[in-house]
């Protein structure tokens, strides 16, 4: 008896897709999204309509017209001129932005240098030095920044001399002074011909860049190493210097001098500015130190051992092998730390430094009203800065990734 073998092809039966309205994934997805959108839209409508009603009831208008109103107060620190009774709230907004950016910029530079220094201390093979750095980091990171800012503000007040006993920082030359009100330094005053020197400086920088490129190409081609640092420095200093002298030194120094009850002339930094800068650097450097340490430790030990093995000296191992590989791990947290510096500079308002929040969100809001517009503008400023910085970070990350491949 022959065994019947079925040669029929297996029929693939498609499972009948029963459309169940309540179980279908697409329907549910659309439904939940609609629900969320409705809920959020409802809350937004509720808030906006309430705000409109409240504004109307209090007889307030909505709009940026108040920016053209003359501001009745004078910020005590400004990088651009301000005349009470003439200048408007838009000028105040500008002054606030400039002050915030100025103190943040200086604090970022200080933080970066001091933070790297501390990070290297943390990594030191010397037990005492790494422990001192650790103690610093732990103490600074576990105390609120606001408390530290106020502390330095009061310490500076207690330590610095009074006006009449101002400390002469230039050792008797009477150029720069430090007293309880702040720091007074000479400030350059530009004359007509100065821009020649700036043009010369720009040309020198471009020239130095091309010189370095040429030297690098030569080294790649012939293996000969040219001195780089000294020629570069010579180009950048000598060319603008010669132009500066040949145009007749078109710049003078405005030196601060004591007149009556205050110093006039030069540039001054108020006590609150110094305290804020100091506290911001001290606080954020501790965080940067930890990032630097983590970044350097993330480079595997074999790398530095191999580098030592091919005969590089320890400082070359650090600068040519370890640091370049640690940078991709250090830079992203460092850039978000810079962002934190900008945000935390807003604590200036506690010690009365005229940053954006203090001068615009506090004083202007109290004198002009218009809470919605002022809060919105201030937040928009910080958001712009934040977006810019995270954009920079994205560019850096992309470049690092390309190099890695």
């Amino acid at each position: 008896m022959a065994i019947e073998v079925s040669h029929k092809q297996t029929v693939h039966v498609r499972p009948v897709e029963k459309f169940d309205f309540f179980q279908d994934e697409r329907v549910r997805s659309v439904f939940f999204q609609l629900l969320t959108a409705l809920a959020v839209g409802g809350v937004a409508w509720f808030l906006i309509s309430n705000t409109a009603q409240n504004l109307e009831k209090r007889g307030l208008s909505f709009g940026l017209g108040f920016l053209d109103v003359v501001a009745p107060f004078d910020p005590d620190f400004k990088l651009v001129s301000f005349t009470v009774g003439v200048d408007t709230y838009s000028r105040i907004f500008l002054i606030g932005i400039l002050n915030t950016l100025y103190v943040s910029f200086l604090a970022i530079i200080g933080t970066t240098f001091f933070g790297f220094f501390l990070g290297i201390m943390r990594l030191s093979s010397n037990w005492l030095i790494s422990r001192v750095a650790l103690a610093y980091v732990e103490i600074v990171r576990n105390v609120p920044l606001l408390l530290q800012i106020i502390f330095w503000y009061s310490v500076i007040y207690a330590v610095l001399p009074r006006l009449k006993q101002s400390l002469d920082l230039s050792v008797g030359a009477e150029l720069a002074f430090l007293n309880i009100r702040g720091l007074y330094v000479p400030w350059p005053v530009a004359h007509d011909m100065l821009w020649f020197s700036f043009v010369a400086l720009a040309i020198a920088i471009v020239a130095a860049y091309f010189f370095r490129r040429w030297a690098q190409q030569r080294q790649d081609a012939t293996g000969q190493k040219l001195p780089i640092f000294l020629p570069t420095a010579a180009i950048i200093i000598l060319i603008p210097g010669m132009v500066f002298l040949s145009t007749g030194s078109p710049m003078t120094w405005d030196v601060p001098r004591l007149e009556g009850f205050n110093f006039v002339g030069g540039a001054s930094l108020p006590r609150s500015f110094i305290a804020l800068l100091f506290a911001l650097i001290i606080y954020h450097a501790a965080y940067l130190a930890e990032s630097v340490r983590a970044g350097v430790l993330s480079v595997s030990k074999g790398q530095s051992e191999a580098a030592l093995g091919i005969g590089l000296r320890p400082n070359k191992v650090l600068s040519l092998v370890v640091i370049p590989q640690a940078m991709p791990a250090i830079v992203p947290p460092m850039i978000s730390l810079w962002m934190n510096v900008v945000k935390n500079s807003s604590l200036a308002t506690a010690i009365g430094f005229a940053d954006l929040v203090a001068v615009y969100m506090q004083t202007s809001l109290n004198t002009a009203g218009h809470a919605v517009e002022i809060v919105g503008m201030t937040m928009a400023f910080y958001m712009t800065i934040s977006l810019t910085i995270s954009g920079l970070l994205n560019i850096y990350n992309k470049r690092v990734q390309l190099v890695e491949r």
Binding site: N126, P144, L147, I150, F151, T378, M379, Y382, S386
Partner: protein, 442 residues
């Protein structure tokens, strides 16, 4: 002829290795000339810094005096700690009525007793204890701190909290002594542990209902004097704000993080923009927004007090930061975990709640505790808005006429206070990380 030593060769002295103190010093402090010079310089600097601090704070410090002037009479350069002692109660309790301080103490003790079982061995139902603390303790503490008239809702929640407190405490004691959980214990003692399930359930519900009604009736005849929020202050207020912030930041952050990783575009875009909005602005601007714009947001006649405004702002702000922390933890979970969960038939919430979140949260413990520490430090910002938190009280001391100008001592005291709390938290989180770590160390 053979040369055989008849005497033992004297053994060489061991190398200066890490086993001896001298060896340790040589390797860690005086390895090279450069290192030695640095060691000596740092030692000198540390010595002078510590000595200056010691002289200022301890040996020349004034501990008992009635005013700053008296401090100066005793020692002109030393620290005037007497001011701290004079203001001690205020630093911890703010302007809370002095006769009612026990209410704050009791609130703190209740929280400790309620949460303590979480750290005790052999106690069962820890998740339930934790959830009940978050859900019911706020009502108990809220009434203890504010007092005044109880509405009917408050009466019910208060009774529920008290019943729950006694139940969890009894459960913890029974569990700690090795008797299993509370339910099994009651069933065993009443001899109903063999009874049908329905009968057991009915009996337990009856006991619960009787307890609840008894507490409800008892609390009706008992009330506390009202204390307005304006008298809250000091470390107490800092803890209230930080506590509510911590308790709400984690769930809020988890929801926002899930929303940001959602497949639904509308949810994703909304969550992302919400998180990015709050993360890109300083907390102080959010606080100003809360105090100036919330009154405009609310319908007519509905007034939020400043404390509530600030707490809402702190919660929103910290939920956004927590969301990024949680998201980083979620990203560390390999795809296989999701796929594995799908194959055993779990849905979205089952996958997230049973498989993904437990692992992600465990990974993120140090970062989560780091955010909590940041939150605690950030609560000092409410002093700028005018709430009397611990920092503002410390600043007030220097404006009090007997202690006029007392700045450094108060701030150093505040710094020590924060340091102790934050340092303990971070040390504990590191301990927890090691304890919960399931990866094999070799």
């Amino acid at each position: 002829m053979a040369y055989v030593k008849t005497k033992d060769t004297p053994s060489r002295t061991p190398p200066l290795n890490e086993s001896s103190v001298l060896g340790w010093l040589k390797i860690n402090l005086f390895d090279t000339l450069y290192s030695s010079v640095l060691t000596v310089l740092v030692l000198i600097a540390v010595f002078f810094a510590v000595k200056a601090l010691w002289v200022w704070g301890i040996s020349d410090g004034v501990w008992i005096a009635n005013s700053r002037r008296e401090c100066f009479k005793i020692s002109i350069d030393g620290a005037c700690w007497a001011g701290i002692f004079a203001w001690f109660d205020s630093i911890f309790y703010g302007r809370y009525p002095r006769t009612d301080l026990w209410r704050i103490d009791l609130g703190g003790i209740l929280l400790i007793v309620w949460m303590a079982p979480l750290w005790l061995p052999r106690v069962q139902g820890k998740i339930l204890i934790g959830l009940s603390t978050v859900a019911l303790y706020p009502f108990l503490a809220g009434y203890l701190f504010t007092g005044g008239d109880k509405g009917i809702f408050m009466q019910i929640m208060l009774s529920a909290a008290i019943v729950c407190f006694f139940a969890t405490t009894a459960n913890a004691i029974i569990g700690f002594l090795g008797g299993g959980n509370l339910i099994a214990f009651i069933l065993r003692k009443t001899g109903k542990n063999k009874a049908p399930e329905k009968q057991q359930r009915n009996m337990l519900l009856t006991i619960l209902a009787i307890g609840f009604i008894a507490v409800f009736l008892w609390q009706r005849g008992w009330s506390l004097e009202g204390v307005t929020w304006t008298r809250w202050g000091g470390l107490f207020l800092t803890f209230v704000i930080a506590g509510i912030g911590i308790a709400s930041a984690l769930p809020g952050g988890i929801l926002l993080a899930l929303g940001r990783r959602s497949k639904l575009p509308v949810v994703r875009v909304l969550c992302t923009s919400f998180i990015e909005l709050f993360r890109s602005v300083p907390l102080i601007t959010v606080l100003f927004m809360a105090t100036t714009m919330f009154p405009l947001f609310m319908p007519e006649g509905f007034v939020l007090n400043k404390l509530v405004q600030v707490i809402i702002a702190v919660c929103l702000f910290n939920a956004c930061y927590m969301a990024e922390t949680v998201r980083a933890g979620l990203q560390a979970i390999p795809r296989g975990q999701y796929e594995g969960a799908h194959t055993i038939g779990l849905g979205y919430w089952g996958t997230i709640g049973l498989i993904i979140m437990p692992q992600a949260l465990k990974h993120m413990i140090p970062n989560i505790v780091g955010s909590f520490i940041g939150l605690l430090k950030d609560t000092t910002l409410v002093s700028i808005i005018g709430l009397f938190d611990v920092l503002n009280i410390l600043r007030t001391i220097s404006r009090d006429s007997p202690w006029l100008g007392l700045h450094q001592e108060t701030l150093v005291f505040g710094a020590m206070l924060f340091f102790i709390i934050c340092f303990a938290m971070s040390k504990y989180s590191r301990h927890l990380e090691v304890k919960l770590s399931t990866t094999h160390k070799n």
